[in-house]
Amino acid sequence: MSNLLKVSLSPHIHGKETTQKLMFGVVIALIPALLTSIFFFGYGALIVTATSVASCILFEYLIVKFIIKKPLTINDGSALVTGLLLAFNLPSNIPVFIIVIGSFVSVAVAKMTFGGLGNNPFNPALVGRVFMLISFPVQMTSWPVPAGLNTGYTDAVTGATPLAIVKEGLKNGESLSQLMTQIPTPAQMFFGQMGGSMGEIAAMALLLGFIWLLYKKIITWHIPVSILATIVAFTGILWLVNPEKYADPLFHVLAGGILLGAIYMATDYVTSPMNPKAMLIYGCGIGMLTVIIRVWGAYPEGVSFAILIMNAFVPLLNTYIKPKRFGEEVKNG
C-alpha cells in the first residue's frame, strides 16, 4: 500500500447507471419504430432521420464550442435523442432545409438558451415540431402514403392521416360509419400501415420500445399509462354518447401520435414531473387536452400541443404535489 488511503463521505459505491446509458437506452427503444418507418416510407425516412440527428448534434456542438465555451456535451446522447424524436414527428417527405430549421429551433432555442440538458422547460423536439407546423403548414401536413421501400422522397404520393380524414369528414357532415370505411383497419394501424409522421405510425413497434424502456427501468409506467387511460376513458364516454359523431377509443389510441407522445415525448425526463403522483396528474392533463384538441380544436392532432401545455405546469406540479412521505399517515395495523 504505497498510496495514502482515500477518505470521503458515504455511499462508497455507485450504481452503473449513467446519463449516457439512459439516452442510448432510449435510442435502442426507438429502433423498431425507425425500422417500421423505413419499411413503409422507404429511404425518405432515412434521409429525414439522418438530417435531423446530424443537425441537432451539429447545432449543440457549435453552440457549446463557440458561444458557451465549455466542455462539449454532445456525447451525453441527449442531442441524438432529440434529433431522433424530432425526425419521428415529421412526415418522411419533408425537405431537408425545413428539417435543419426545425433542428435549430429544437436545440438552439428550446434547449441551449435555457442552459442545455436538464434546464429546458419545454420538450425540445416538440418545440421544433410545433414551430415547423406553424411555419410550414403545407409541407408539415402532406403525408406520404405508405408504399413500401420504394416510396419516393419528396416526390412521394401523399394522402391524409386517419385523424385528418375523420376531422374533415365530420366537418362536412358525414357520419363516422361512412368515414371508417375510408381509413385503415385497426390491424393495419397497429402494424403501421397508415399515413402519418415517420415514427408514429406503428403501434406495435412503439409498444415494443415501451416494454424495453420499462424493462430497463429507463421510464416508469406512470406517465404513459395515465395518458392512455385518460384518452380511452374520455373518448370512450364520448363514443358511448354518440358513436356516429365521436370515434371509438381504439381509433384514438392507434391513429395519430398518441403512443409516440405518451411513451417517448411526455416521458422526457427534463420536462416531466418528478414524483409519481405529479406524473399521474400530468398524464391525465395530456390525455384530456389531446382529446379536446382532437375533437373540438382546429387541428386534427393535439398531442404535441397537449404535451407542451402540460410541460408548462410541471414546475407547479413539482412544487405543490408531493409524494406521501414515509410515516405521514399513522397506520396502526
Binding site: 488511503l5 439512459l22 425526463y269 412521505r325
Partner: protein
C-alpha cells in the same frame, strides 16, 4: 488516537499477557435455554454487561428494553436483514448460533413483556431462513418472515413497515407504533450476558472487499486494531484505495487502519483504488430516480438544490431531517450528483436552526 469517525479520542492501551477469564463467566459451549431472571433483572444485566445495539448504531439496549410510562409494546422485531450490502456477519451468526439467538429473543420478549416476536430475514439468505424457521418451532411466539431483498431493508423503520405495515411517524420511535427492534447480533449478546454472564466485548465482524484474499467473518474483541483484522484476512491488498468501517452505503472511510474495532463495527470493507474515486458530476437530468429510490419518499434532488442555494427554511419544510442518510439517492443518480453530501449539509444546518429556535 483517531477513531472511525475521524475524531481524536482519549483511549487506553491495554497490554495483554495471556488470556485469563474470571470464574463468573460460563465458558462452556452448552446451550442454556432456561431463563431464570425476572424482566427487571434482565434489563439490569444488559446495563451491567454493556449491551448495545450491534446493528451499527450502538444504542444502549437497556434503554430500549425499558418501555416508558404511557407507551405500549406488543411486538419484538429481530432484525436479520443485514443492514448493508457486502456485510454477512448477521447471516453467519444466524447459521452458527441460531439457538442462542432464539433464546436471546425469548429473553428480550420476557424483558419487554411481549408474547410475540418476528424475525425478519432477507430472501437471499435461504439457508438462514430455513435454519431459523426450523429451530423457532421450539420457541413459542417467535415467527420467521422472509423479506424482499432490497436496500435498506434492514433499516429500523423500513423493517417495521415490511413486517407489520406500520409506519413510524417522522421524528418518532418504533415504540410509537408499539414495536421494538433489536438486531440478531444483539439478541446473541443478550443471550451471552444473561445466560452466560459474559459482558459484551466480542462481536462478529465481516471483513471483505473484492481484492481481500481471505474475506470472511471473524469473532473479534473490541479494541482490536483494524490492521490486525485485515492481516488475518490475508493482508492489505496492493490496490486498496479505501478502508471502510461499516458497509459500502453508510460506512465511514477511515484515515488509517490502526483504529480499533468498537461495538458498532459490523464490518470492514476494502475498496479497490479504481472504485474509490467518484465520477465527475453531470447536470441533473431530472429523471426522478432519486425520488423513486428514497425509502422515506423525500425528494433528494430538491433537497440538494435547496441546500446548495441555502434555502434551509424550505428544506426543513420538505422534511430534510427525516433523511436517514442511507445513500440510495447518490447511489442511483445517473449524473453522479453528490445528493447525500448536500442533504447532510442541509440537514445539519436545519437541526442547528431548530436548536436555536428552541433556546429562544
Amino acid at each position: 488516537m483517531i477513531d472511525a469517525t475521524g475524531f481524536r479520542q482519549t483511549a487506553v492501551y491495554i497490554d495483554t499477557r495471556g488470556d485469563e477469564w474470571i470464574d463468573t463467566i460460563d465458558r462452556s459451549g452448552d446451550i442454556n435455554r432456561e431463563i431464570k431472571l425476572s424482566p427487571e433483572e434482565i434489563i439490569q444485566k444488559c446495563l451491567e454487561t454493556g449491551i448495545v445495539g450491534l446493528g451499527g448504531a450502538t444504542f444502549p439496549s437497556h434503554v430500549k428494553l425499558t418501555v416508558p410510562a404511557g407507551k405500549r409494546c406488543d411486538l419484538l422485531i429481530i432484525n436479520g436483514a443485514e443492514c448493508e450490502p457486502y456485510l454477512t456477519s448477521d447471516h453467519r451468526l444466524m447459521l452458527e448460533k441460531g439457538e442462542e439467538i432464539l433464546t436471546g429473543t425469548t429473553i428480550l420478549m420476557k424483558a419487554l413483556r411481549v408474547t410475540k416476536a418476528y424475525i425478519g430475514i432477507e430472501n437471499n439468505k435461504k439457508d438462514a431462513i430455513g435454519h431459523i424457521t426450523k429451530l423457532a418451532e421450539g420457541f413459542p411466539g417467535i415467527t420467521v418472515y422472509a423479506l424482499k431483498v432490497k436496500y435498506p431493508q434492514g433499516a429500523e423503520k423500513q423493517l417495521i413497515k415490511a413486517l407489520t405495515k406500520r409506519e413510524v411517524p417522522s421524528g418518532k420511535l418504533p415504540l410509537d407504533v408499539n414495536a421494538v427492534v433489536h438486531n440478531v447480533g444483539t439478541a446473541f449478546a443478550v443471550y451471552e450476558a444473561v445466560q452466560k454472564n459474559k459482558p459484551l466485548f466480542e462481536r462478529v465482524v465481516t471483513i471483505t472487499g473484492k481484492s481481500v484474499p481471505k474475506p470472511g467473518n471473524y469473532f473479534v474483541r473490541t479494541g482490536t486494531p483494524v490492521r490486525f483484522l485485515i492481516e488475518a484476512a490475508g493482508g492489505i491488498p496492493e490496490n486498496t484505495g479505501k478502508i471502510l468501517s461499516g458497509g459500502p452505503m453508510m460506512g465511514k472511510a477511515v484515515s488509517n487502519p490502526d483504529i480499533p474495532v468498537v461495538k458498532g463495527t459490523s464490518g470492514i470493507v476494502l475498496i479497490p483504488a479504481d472504485e474509490s474515486l467518484r465520477n465527475e458530476m453531470m447536470p441533473c437530468i431530472r429523471c426522478a430516480k432519486c425520488v423513486m429510490a428514497c425509502p422515506l419518499h423525500l425528494e433528494p434532488y430538491l433537497l440538494m438544490t435547496l441546500s446548495e442555494k441555502g434555502d434551509f427554511e424550505r428544506a426543513g419544510r420538505e422534511r430534510i431531517t427525516d433523511c436517514m442518510e442511507c445513500g440510495s439517492c447518490s447511489y442511483t443518480c445517473p449524473a453522479d450528483r453528490p445528493l447525500l453530501d448536500y442533504i447532510r449539509l442541509g440537514k445539519s444546518t436545519v437541526i442547528k436552526m431548530a436548536r436555536k429556535q428552541m433556546i429562544k
